[in-house]
Symmetry: C2
Subunit: 213 residues, 2 copies
DNA sequence: AAGACTATACCGACCGGTTGGTATGTCGGT
DNA sequence: ACCGACATACCAACCGGTCGGTATAGTCTT
């Protein structure tokens, strides 16, 4: 029984971190700023987290848990066909691009850029969040492949990771241009790609398998 | 040509910025760190740049110029066919994923994540770099579309921006996992997508034959 | 049942070091 | 003599982190 209680300050800091770090980035966000945003004192911060880095790791794990629950509750899982679930996931990702940028961009994608070389603990927590989410997508892709007897030169895992790459890149473009439709269009290209891959089943039974190291 | 000499400290700071910011991010990089890496003093820094933010803007512009020259000199431009140039560009992007992460990742993609909401000048400089690069790719895509009389539901511009999204996302995944092959695989998916888009003329129902010269 | 002890949650003044930025001076070239 | 290109010393604000203290609730002892 480690945590059946929910201390207020801790979760307030965590949700403040999600908001502030997605707006300003990790390094530019000071502990004092976080405390002010969460409405708690510095003493409370260092009572719950050993360091700023520990907060970042906890925030990445918190992000993984909440997004996992968010996508698990999404309606696209209801489709009986696996490919429909994959396409439904992509449509869902495009549909939730609403509100301000910090509302729909990715916490771990933002943090890992700043910390991959200097804070391995944060990097690993971010990587776990991304690959964990990709694994859910991979399951539906693999099922869709099995349904259609596809034997392509690519794997379900690499396509699942590709969907995450497109999403992360779409966020960067949206941040740079200030235009959400750029991100939506990129996700649209991703959808078309998946459609094309899975509409090949009659023509491309023997597509040349790529040799890869 | 010695009349247009470049001051040593300025270019030293600029190339140091490219290296250090791609490793640590913008906010985590202090002016002192930059000066130490460039082998110059703080006085030199503020002689050439009005502020840290001004250095970031100059670095983004310097990045746009150097990468533009780098890709302009790349061999894929020699292809007479426009689609071959597009695919050659993608192959080239995959081929240059060598060395350490800071050697091939994107400066402006890293910076814009940290500054899009707090430093409009930096964000705009990053956006100009990305869209400027995308415009070069767009030209070849548009030519390839014209060559084949393609009239798809997507534009050359959106596909060009999609290539940049994939690349930026691939960098994030590589940083998170520490595995370059993840990025290479994602670029591989991008290549396959472009191939599929342009090989649709045999299978597509809504394609207009023998039109457009 | 009263008092003593303990654990958790939180407070906020405080610390040494670092931050971006400035003020002033030096020096070689023209 | 003067200007651009640096160098050095310095500053107030801010940084992550520490520390002694308080409030409250539960548990143990008597």
């Amino acid at each position: 029984m480690e945590s059946h209680d929910k201390p207020d300050a801790r979760s307030a800091l965590l949700s403040a971190a999600l908001r502030v770090i997605r707006t300003q980035g990790y390094s530019a966000t000071s502990v004092d700023t976080l405390c002010r945003a969460a409405g708690v004192t510095k003493g409370a911060f260092f009572h719950h987290f050993a360091s700023k880095e520990a907060l970042a790791v906890a925030a990445a794990q918190h992000w993984a848990i909440t997004t996992d629950a968010f996508f698990a509750a999404a309606p696209y899982h209801a489709h009986p066909d696996a490919l429909d679930r994959v396409l439904g996931y992509i449509d869902f990702r495009r549909a939730i691009l609403q509100g301000e940028l910090p509302d729909y961009t990715c916490l771990v994608g933002t943090m890992v850029q700043e910390t991959y070389a200097t804070a391995p603990a944060i990097r690993d927590a971010c990587a776990a969040s991304i690959t964990g989410h990709a694994a859910r997508v991979e399951a539906d892709i693999a099922a869709a492949m099995a349904d259609r007897g596809l034997r392509p030169g690519w794997t379900a895992r690499s396509l699942a990771l590709h969907t995450q790459a497109v999403l992360q890149g779409a966020f960067i473009l949206a941040k740079a241009t200030g235009d959400v439709t750029v991100a939506a269009d990129s996700i649209g290209h991703l959808r078309r790609y998946v459609e094309l891959l899975f509409s090949q089943d009659d023509a491309a039974a023997d597509h040349t398998p790529e040799r890869r190291s």
